[in-house]
């Protein structure tokens, strides 16, 4: 588009230039020849008056000698009859016929015709007719044309190159910005600032983008910091509460108030769990989460965890089918946390009476654990989103409590073990699965994928 505009503008200017140049040349030439005509007219006045054709002829001959580009000249009397003439073009040429009776300067077919009145102070006594061939004009025209073409060609080429380079320069920077924005959007990694060394509007855009990212990072940091601080603050008085409740419980061993204490204790436990979740999240975010790896019997862990979970949900049976029969190298406490979380979710989201089935299978170098419940299942399309921070299933009844952090923490733990965790929707419920390498996360082995749940 730019190139076209440039070319158009250039074309207009070139044409204008050529036209004016030619026009100027013509004007100058006409002036020159007019001057010559004036002098000759002056000199031949008397010849006319005294009818001295020879003298007039001689004057014209002189003119031709001095100005070779005069092809034909003639002195005409008052009746426009030829009094004297010099030149090849006879009086029968078209031009002569056309212009002999006019007065002035005329351009026709590369020839300049000048006709001037010869007067004797007051009266017209004749006229002089000059026909000049404009050799230069044709040459000038073609020269100017070629010059204009070449210059225009160069200019168009230059415009093309410049616009091309500029576009690339602008586009590439903009595209880099768009790419970065997309990456940030996709990964949530706000450290991806874009480097730029310019001073134009695009640089402004990029620097605003970078400062925006900075702001976001700062906000995130503050948020995490706050969570950490808040969790600590919450935990302290809670510990006290639990302490006092413990004392009360041991005192109220056989009293009816014991129930109240139990409930309070239960709630304190729940609160403690929530806070611990928050703390875990903070640890994960600030990179403080670490694994304490030991070797332990996997089945034993599962059984223990199921037993604890069963105690809290009397109306939903939890069944342990298919055992792995393996020793596993992992962080026992954390894996227990994962299992407990999955079981608690299963209990929360399954219907009364339907059993929750847990299986552990050893295949290859991994153990695959499945916790299958019978309930509403996971909403279609949310299979990945549920592992995100603060995710709570929509449309779920209010009584199911929690910050929505459980699965996020589970995923982090499993990923640190170089395993996978994912969910599979079944007709009658959902199955949560995770895969753990038996040899542990620090075992040097080829893994196809350490990505999070699919």
């Amino acid at each position: 588009m730019q190139v076209f505009t440039s070319a158009l503008v250039l074309g207009i200017f070139a044409t204008f230039y050529i036209i004016t140049e030619i026009q100027n040349y013509k004007n100058r030439k006409a002036k020159d020849v007019q001057s010559i005509a004036a002098v000759v007219a002056q000199n031949s006045a008397s010849s006319l008056q005294f009818q001295d054709n020879q003298a007039a002829q001689a004057t014209l001959a002189e003119l031709h000698a001095v100005s070779p580009d005069v092809v034909y000249s003639a002195i005409l009397d008052q009746d426009h009859h030829v009094f004297a003439s010099v030149g090849r073009a006879g009086s029968d040429t078209a031009l002569f016929r056309e212009y002999r009776n006019s007065v002035g300067a005329f351009f026709s077919a590369g020839t300049l015709i000048v006709v001037r009145t010869i007067s004797n102070n007051t009266d017209k006594i004749g006229s002089i007719y000059l026909q000049v061939r404009l050799n230069e004009l044709a040459r000038m025209r073609s020269y100017l044309f070629r010059l204009a073409m070449v210059l225009s060609g160069i200019a168009v080429l230059a415009a093309f190159l410049i616009s091309f380079v500029l576009q690339t320069y602008i586009s590439s920077r903009l595209l880099a910005l768009v790419r970065t924005m997309r990456r940030v959007g996709d990964t949530g990694d706000y450290t991806l600032t874009l480097a730029d060394e310019g001073t134009d509007e695009i640089s402004v855009l990029i620097s605003v983008f970078n400062s925006l990212l900075l702001q976001i990072r700062e906000n995130e940091r503050r948020k995490d910091e706050f969570i950490g601080v808040a969790s600590h603050e919450l935990k302290t008085p809670l510990t006290n509460v639990k302490g006092y409740l413990e004392i009360l419980r041991s005192m109220e061993e056989r009293n009816p108030q014991r129930q109240l204490v139990d409930r309070a204790f239960l709630n304190a436990g729940k609160l403690e769990k929530l806070i611990e979740d928050l703390l875990d999240v903070t640890k994960i975010q600030t990179g403080q989460m670490q694994l304490n790896l030991t070797e332990f019997d996997f089945d034993e862990l599962v059984s223990e965890t199921i037993a604890s979970a069963q105690m809290l949900s009397k109306d939903r049976p939890i069944v342990f089918e298919a055992k792995a029969a393996r020793q596993v190298r992992a962080d026992r406490q954390r894996i227990e946390q994962v299992l407990a979380n999955l079981l608690s979710n299963a209990v929360k989201y399954s219907t009364d009476g339907k059993p929750i089935v847990v299986t552990a299978v050893a295949t290859g170098g991994d153990i695959i654990v499945e916790v299958a419940d019978q309930g509403e299942g996971v909403p279609a399309g949310e299979e990945n989103a549920i592992f995100g921070r603060f995710y709570r299933a929509k449309g779920v009844s209010q009584h199911i409590s929690g910050f929505g952090l459980g699965l996020y923490i589970c995923r982090d733990i499993i990923q640190r073990h170089r395993g996978r965790i994912w969910v599979r929707n079944r007709e009658d419920g959902a199955s949560f699965l995770f895969q753990l390498p038996i040899a542990g996360p620090d075992f040097k082995q080829q893994h196809s994928s350490t990505k999070s749940s699919m």
Partner: protein
């Protein structure tokens, strides 16, 4: 012959330019031409007329149709803004006071005598062979069929009047 006809047309054109009616066509072509030339001469000579000169006098010595032609011209034309008066001269004594003097062939007096009466500020024009050599300022001659004129530089310079080169270049220069 053809040329003369052509010139006749030219003369008529010239003369009609000066306001001479077409009736003059009937007169002798040569006469008219001479009259026209005489008038044209006046245009190429600086007469140095003063405020006292109310008119321009052309004297004609002898009998000639040129006189009539001159009178025709005099009716409508001027010299340097002055009216032209054509004076017929019979006697030598009357010669003085004419700026331009036309000496006709048909006369009684001798050329030398007439020329001796020509004063400063006056120019004589003759129409016979050898007149220029004798001392006339201009002399009409026929070159073939064309009317031309001789000019005597000495006579012209002794008149004290400046004659344009444009005129002189057309003349046949005669030196004495």
């Amino acid at each position: 012959m053809k040329k003369l006809v052509a010139y006749a047309i030219i003369i008529v054109a010239l003369l009609t330019g000066f306001g001479i009616p077409a009736a003059a066509q009937g007169e002798d072509l040569e006469t008219n031409l001479k009259a026209a030339f005489l008038y044209n001469f006046t245009k190429y000579i600086d007469w140095q007329l003063g405020p006292d000169d109310a008119q321009f006098v052309i004297g004609v010595v002898g009998m000639s149709e040129v006189e009539r032609a001159l009178e025709q011209i005099a009716r409508t034309s001027t010299v340097n803004g002055r009216r032209i008066v054509v004076r017929h001269i019979d006697r030598l004594e009357e010669i003085g006071g004419c700026q331009l003097l036309f000496i006709a062939r048909d006369r009684r007096a001798g050329l030398r005598e007439i020329l001796s009466k020509v004063n400063r500020g006056e120019i004589a024009v003759a129409e016979e062979n050898g007149a220029a050599r004798e001392g006339a300022g201009f002399n009409f001659v026929l070159a073939g069929e064309k009317l031309k004129f001789e000019a005597n530089m000495r006579a012209l310079s002794s008149s004290g009047l400046k004659v344009s080169s444009q005129l002189l270049k057309l003349a046949i220069i005669v030196k004495k």
